[in-house]
Amino acid sequence: MHSKHYVWLTGLFLALGMLSCSRSVRPVQGDVLEQLDVRAYEMRYRDVKETERLAREALRLSGGTDDVAQLNLAYVAYQRMDFDGVERILRKLKGNTHNQVYLLCADVMTMKTVQRTGDYTAFFRAMYDAQRRMKRIEEEQEDLSELEHVFWLYSCSEFHIIASTYYYYQGQEDLSKQHIRKVGERYLSASDTAQWIYYNYMLGSGGLVDAPTREEVTLTEFDHLITAYRLSHKKRYLYFEGNAMQALAQMVRQHYGMLRTRRPEELLLLEVGMKAAGEDDLSLALCQRAIKLFTTYDDMFQMACCYRTMGQLLFSQGRYEEALSQYARALHQVNRHHLNYYHCTDTLVLYDTDYPEVSLEAMWLQNESVKTVPEWIAGIREQISQTYSALGMKWASDYNRNVYLDILQLTNQNDELEVRRAQLQVEQGKLRLRTYFVIFLFLGLLVMLWAYRRRVSKRVFSLRKQLDDLQSGEWVPASVQQLKEQEEDAEEQLAATRLQLIKCKQQNVVGRARVSLVHAILPFLDRVRGEVIRMKREGGVSEYRRTYIQELVNQIADYNDILTEWIRMRQGRLALNIRTVELGSLFRIVGEGRQAFEQKGVSLELHPTELKVKADEALTLFMINTLADNARKFTPQGGRVEVSAHTVEDCVEVSVCDTGIGLSPEDIDTLNNNQVYDPETIGNSQSDQKGFGFGLANCRGIIEKYKKHSELFRNSLFGVRSNSSSGCTFFFRLPRVLGVVVFFLFLPVSGMAQSARALYDSLYHANLREDYSLALDYGDKALGADSLDHRTEMGIRNEMALAALALNDWETYEVHNARYTQLQKQLNQDATLPEYVNRMEAYHRNSRLLLLFIILLSMGALWLVYKLFVNRRLMIETDVQCQLDLLKEEQEEALRRQIGILNDGTKQNMFELQRVYVQNQVLDNCLSTIKHESMYYPARIRHLAQDIHEGGRVAPLEETVNYYRHIFSILMQQADDQVARPGFKRQSLSSDEIREMLVSVLRKGGWLASDGVMSGGEEALVMADSVLMEFFCQQLVQGLAGRHYLAPSSCRVCTSHSPSGSFVLFELNVSGTMLDDEQISRMFMPSVQGLPLYVARQIIREHDTYSGNPGLRLLAQSTDDGYRVVFTLSKK
């Protein structure tokens, strides 16, 4: 991508370049100009004013078109630190010329300038431009003119030197060395002495030389410096001479001893030349000379640097005051620079007693129009800070250090650029990736399409096979499998609920059998009453009557006992389903019956609640519904019924409040206290409904049952009270369930004490306390701690530098400060290396266009291939797939439907289950109440009858009997009320099915004879309830077996019917057991052990009533070898 594009562009440029080269603006006075230019160039490092003069002359001569002159002038401006001026000149140059070499020089000059000012963006942009140009020019080196060649070499060497310097200051020594090596390798010739000297000076100034030992390094550097010095002295390149001397001064100061041993001649020469001896004197002398040179050369920057060096040297000799004055001079140079070009009237001072919020330097740095040289000032400030510290003037030292730190931080704040760079980098990366991707994709797709074609054919084949499998049932897809499993689950559920329902129904029919026993009691009661009436009429008690009454009462008592026994037997089977019930959801269900209320014009208000109780859910719902219905019946149009719940101590009271007719105090008393009452008597007779019904009595019964069930319900009750306004409130209380209160313990997220950070804090505080040695200890520990990140280390280093400064421990200070600076630079550097910014932008633009082009092309190609080869096959595949999907869906749909049906069945069962369950519970309550109330009376009646015989009055007996009958009939009515809704399901069953039911029960118990199934007659359809009939068979056999009327293998079953008849007859023949008349006639009569047979009788009775064809029988008859039980069912 890259190469393709740029090869083309390069070619273009080269062509232009060549053209421009040949058209290089050289008027007739070409040679004169050249001479001027060369001279001006050569004077650069000697006398800048001369350079300026010559350049201006050249410019004038050339009519303002001489590139080299402009370059020279640019250099002049640079040397004078007129950075704006440099920019101006170079811009003009770039606009006017096409000469690549001079443009390269311009780039390099830009690099130099912006490096000084610290504008690294521009630096890298210029660097990048320069590199590009260098590459281009390299290819055409041979075609350059002599002058151009000179500048070409100059530019290249300068480029690398600048780059090397940059990387050195960034702490990237490897890159720095790389660049400087390039200088040595390629671009130097002895002709360009200046650059040669510069090269040597660079090598000598440190950090660029590799040698086996430190000593070697120093010595090599020293040699380079000497070379640079000698040459520059000879050539009178003041600039380099001064620099060399400055560097030598520092080196002498540091390594005097070694130099004396290893390079004694050179040292001696220096000493002689400087007329000084000893490290102190020599270094100072060298430096002073350098200052003088620079002053002549008039380079503010270098002068300031020299003063700084002087200051350093003096500092190292302990002459602090003198050092300060040198620093002051350095600052003076800085001020001069700013005054000259930026008209800054603010000046830097050694320290500002005012201690401004924002230092002047910071302000300069942040002012874009002021091109400060940050490093320059930073270095000075740092030294000043050290010096003040040595003088013990902490405050001044702090001031300077802060300025120093500010500068370090501010120099490289380029947030905006950081973002842009990151953005561009990401985009570029993406774009590049995309482009490669597209290309590979295109190729890949091509290959794939071909392979695809083949695959599609294969797929079609396999799909056809799949279709066949699906049709034949060999393959069952996952979704269908899942649905099949769901179907199984639904079936299981249905079966489970069905089983539960069957159990409930069985319990229900047993309950109904008990109720019919109650019914059987009533006639005897009536008989007693009849006798009493006759007694009253006769005015006396005949023996017959007394005996008869006794017998009747005994019979009643017997039946009561039987009933009691039957009720007791069921204990444990009709257990209550106690669990936590959410009243809110029950209220909602009650709310679904809103219609009935609205039709009557009564508003139903349900107060939502979060309260929960412990109770049986079905029964609680039943109670609320009952009370609400009652309230509705007794509230006139326009009234209101409110259902709500609130807490009362440890219970929840659910109350149904109406604005209806209300009840009299007597009625309320009756409802609250009497166990038995006639509902017809309760309530205002103005209502057009049939009295209260037994709902309330049932509710009370349920509460009583709870209380009997467990201590938990000791505070539960049922009651009614009148409202203050109108109507009354019915309520019941059930034990409350407290919501679970969850306490969240918020564990404070204690951050792991970062040891480094903690130590840093201690260090910081120690410094504040001016306990500097302790601070240093903390610092050392902190540096050794784990979890030390760069930021923390920077903080630590700074603090330690401060502490060392305060203790005047210069070595420690150097170490920590250097590290701090390095970290700072790294930090800044990471954020501010916008190397690719400009490059990326252009690159980006072009790449996108190219990408678009490629995409369009590939798309076209692919479409063609697809159309030609793949399309048709795909269509076939789609077709087959469609068929497959359709078939699968059909199967799924069928299954889903089935599941729906099963679920409906389950729901239906659940609904019925709940209803029957409630019915059973209430019925149970009724029977228990009957048992309770009836217990007492028979004995009493008997007693009273006895009394009469002995001359007592009839009246008390009459009263008691009447009363007993009265409550008895009420209770019976209540029980009947529950049984009123028949659970009878009319189903068509075949007579064979019924026979099978009986046969299988007999077989299970071993009662069936080997030829037990006697088929007599064809199959016929009967109308029966299958659940009840199954139960019937169980109960019949259980009852007979319980009385020992069965013997193993003694039973035979047969069915018969006449075609015209409306009944089917079933016979159970039992052989081997003879029964007498008494047993036969009493078989289905109530007796203590006789509940199962009585239930069987009840079932037949229900079939008689509800199957729509009365006349069904259940009876027993004696036979020759035993007996038989016969029952009939109606034919459909």
Binding site: P523, R527, I533, Q637, G1111, L1112, R1113
Partner: protein, 239 residues
């Protein structure tokens, strides 16, 4: 009362004792030919001698319908025999109606004074509809209710200002006729538009202000039924 013969059908011994005692002490004219506990015994006794009176208990052998069958068969085969039902089924009104339809001369409930000489006498004298007081009470209550409903009906017609055309309209709505169909009736000389007007007026009369929202024909008819304007048992079309 002239002497007569009676067969008693009763399967509970204790009851039978009481019944027999009643005959013995209060109805000396009666001669008890025999007692039967089930059907077969009844026919056995009948084959021996046909009685004048059959005192029939309904709940034999646990089934309520045996008695009804016996009654029907006796009345068919031996029309001269008077059948008096003596039963403890004090609540099963349907059974009473069935046994009356089967030809019983009357029903005596085994409650209150139970069987008295009076009832037997009436039955023997050929009177139909012999009832003892308890059952009579129930019958009368039912009768009263129906009559009341009738009255209610008349009252409602007046109170809600229902004229004959309103009644015809409502009745036919209840039977599922559309307005167009009703307009076609011979007895309704109105067009569809006037019928709509009539319906709106009816709604206004039968519903209170707050209830009138969203009342359709079904709702109207149901309200008419509730108010006894229409008689559910008497819904028939005019044509």
């Amino acid at each position: 009362m002239s002497p007569f013969t009676v067969i008693i059908v009763e399967d509970v011994k204790l009851e039978l004792k009481g019944t027999q005692e009643i005959f013995r002490s209060e109805i000396p004219e009666a001669t008890i030919l025999g007692t039967a506990q089930n059907e077969s015994e009844v026919w056995k006794l009948f084959r021996q001698q046909v009685p004048d009176l059959l005192l029939l208990d309904l709940g034999l052998g646990g089934s309520t319908t045996v008695g009804v069958d016996i009654c029907r068969q006796v009345r068919q085969s031996y029309p001269s025999v008077r059948v008096l039902v003596f039963t403890g089924e004090v609540l099963n009104e349907r059974l009473w109606v069935e046994v009356l339809n089967a030809g019983a001369a009357g029903i005596v409930l085994k409650t209150g004074e139970l069987l008295t000489r009076n009832e037997v006498k009436l039955a023997m004298n050929g009177r139909n509809y012999v009832f003892n007081e308890p059952i009579l009470e129930k019958i009368i209550a039912r009768y009263k209710r129906i009559v009341c409903e009738e009255t209610l009906r008349t009252d409602a017609l007046i109170h809600y200002d229902i004229d004959e055309y309103d009644e015809i309209y409502l009745r036919h709505l209840a039977l599922g006729y559309t307005k167009d169909m009703i307009a076609q009736l011979r007895t309704m000389p109105f067009g569809t538009k006037s019928l709509e007007k009539r319906q709106a007026e009816l709604i206004g009369r039968l519903f209170s202000e707050s209830e009138r929202q969203g009342v359709n024909a079904t709702r109207l008819v149901v309200r008419a039924l509730q108010l006894h304007i229409l008689d559910l048992d008497n819904l028939h079309a005019d044509d």
